[in-house]
Point group: C2
Chain length 444, copies 2
Amino acid sequence: MDAEEFRRRGKEMIDYVAEYLENVEQRPVYPDLEPGYLRSLIPSEAPLEPESYEDIMKDMERVIMPGAASPACTELETVMLDWLGKMLQLPESFIAGTDGQGGGVIQGTASEATLMSLLAARCKAVRRVQTYTSDKSEVEIFSQLVAYTSEQAHSSVERAALIGGVMIRKVPTDSNYAVRGDSLKKMVEEDKAAGLIPFYVCATLGTTPSCAFDQITELGPICNGENMWMHIDAAYAGSAFICPEFRPLLNGIEGHSTVGLNGFWYLKIFFCLSTPVNRVKKRTDIIGAFKMDPLYLKHENQESGLVTDYRHWQIPLGRRFRSLKLWFVFRMYGLQGLQAHIRKQVALAKEFESLVRADKRFEICAEVVLGLVCFRLKGSNELNQNLLKKITNSREIHLVPCQLSGRFVLRFVICARTTESRHIQQAWQHITQLTFELLQEPNH
Amino acid sequence: MDAEEFRRRGKEMIDYVAEYLENVEQRPVYPDLEPGYLRSLIPSEAPLEPESYEDIMKDMERVIMPGAASPACTELETVMLDWLGKMLQLPESFIAGTDGQGGGVIQGTASEATLMSLLAARCKAVRRVQTYTSDKSEVEIFSQLVAYTSEQAHSSVERAALIGGVMIRKVPTDSNYAVRGDSLKKMVEEDKAAGLIPFYVCATLGTTPSCAFDQITELGPICNGENMWMHIDAAYAGSAFICPEFRPLLNGIEGHSTVGLNGFWYLKIFFCLSTPVNRVKKRTDIIGAFKMDPLYLKHENQESGLVTDYRHWQIPLGRRFRSLKLWFVFRMYGLQGLQAHIRKQVALAKEFESLVRADKRFEICAEVVLGLVCFRLKGSNELNQNLLKKITNSREIHLVPCQLSGRFVLRFVICARTTESRHIQQAWQHITQLTFELLQEPNH
């Protein structure tokens, strides 16, 4: 949607909202529908090709407004996450369907998605341990639990363990900054020998520093063997898996007893928000952790099994109607449009990579798989820190650094919807100009 | 703002956004400002009288756009929560000011505000205990910690304790459904005698079932004496304290060593979102709990003390620019406009109360202080359950029940911005009509 269409559609939407406010008293106080009404009103998969905005707005009145905020908010979310699951070619067991045990939930942020999975895993571990040592208190068991994640994992994983009050160990990575099975296995064996209870692994597909991919085909069987919950943090790379050429990076998801998957940062440019999703095979695993049913939250379909109460799947009680954005985006772009967008972003990163590789003063520091290019000037960390300072002070582009194997590395990320080849070329020209100036300075 | 003005302003805003998108390349990549730039550009208090929408929009370009998303998002939030603090006549120590140690943060939801305060209190308690028993591990201390809240408290308080992995005890209430000092004191003494460590009290001002007010003037000194963190959950009643006649309900907040305050549900009709705020006297108390600083989140003002990093104050990492809504609402209504709105809502509740009191078949079940009326038909719980069923099935109004002293009670809540006396009269007529029909049925 270009700015011109945005003006037109935006103003139509303002009129729609104003009309709603003016006539709200004519609308029913709450809907007269059976649980599950929504699924049969819309297709079971996202369209391949874009649909028109008019058609989507027509469906607002047909599909959403009769179900108002509730149950439409919940039911659209369930179906949209099924659409997304199918776009990702997830195994059938992760799809809610009409009677599935799996399903997804939109979490507020990726940090909350990870935290929620860790808390659910903690609860499951305590119940399991108590079946064979019933005299142990919950808190005693907490003190023995140990979680694992990559030394390259996002800080939110360590923070989740701090909040959950459990130990976390950082698994060293291989030369590609990925966690391998043998490193995890070794740590788990050590910890078991020390009387600890390994219960949770957070693997990352697309790490923050360098977009590395932990080897989940190796980690999965270890998790299964040790009764550990495996959560996959794909907050950055997740959405790229809707392209068949990137889908193999998710291979290994099939075999696990429990998998959380969050992510879809890549699509956030469409959504105006990131869409962290927790996806589980057995919904009772995640619901069981913190279910509370005071009288003021009871409703008549509570025990029917027909209704999904997303409040049990998350930290907050209230929730926003974020699946509406998924619905609009999936339909306005179509699967092919979304794939094209991801491919374009990756192509722009590859374009930047080849500019770097063609300049012998620079080096590429990690494989470029998606939209992130890790690079640096050959030379000292200080030299690269000075280059970044020059870039920051000139305020033309914005780069965030990282540390890889003790080296200070610059990160070039494609993330705006409107980025084109000319921006890549301008950015590189700017960087090489500043590099030229830097290398002219007397102390270099 | 009526629907007509909403149409006009909404369309202007669409144009503003479209223009931003079209010309984004002309804007600086990031702002060239010193930390703290925003405070001197706007008044230090909310206006008493409404300001014009034009004036506020002019300030968007003058105050916000030069500071873009960051630091404007953070700095406006700090100042808006100071405005709110002054509207609430909070003690100086809760105001951030230019060098204060206090301050506020907008949390995602009330549940998160409570959770965050409990986690911060847990962290503080562990550090305190470790100063005199340095051999105890964190998890050992967790197992001894005990939190307290009212038996009438919202389910999110118990859920916070479950997430934090600490024990929670429910304090019985008096005949007004309020927690009193002696009940808390008794429990604390019992628990200390049993070797436990009391560390946290969540008091409620305006409980969910009946809008009861815990006696914080009695609870505060006990918390201080026992080194317990006192959090005040005023999620419902909080915003009414901007009216001098309701402010005494918050008396007792002054004396505490640490106080969290969340709430402002009442204002949510303006905000289109609830605004749960955590407010602390010592910001290090809340920041200390989960501070993490990986390289990709470092910035040059990190250690200067000039910058507030709200990510340390909350569960998620990212955050929305919600203080913009506060800024618009405070200015478009003015303090007097907001007070008038709250008074109108309370008056409507009082109107409903007198209708109930005039009908001898009914009784009022709890003092009507703000916008909630708890009432029931004199008679059995079954009778009242049947009345609620009739009300629900007729779909004219929506009531949520509660249980008070074992009695099934109906709750009538004023919560829409546009509710008028005629809606109250219609609702009561509807309820009495259904009551008439119910009492005609053969089994009554």
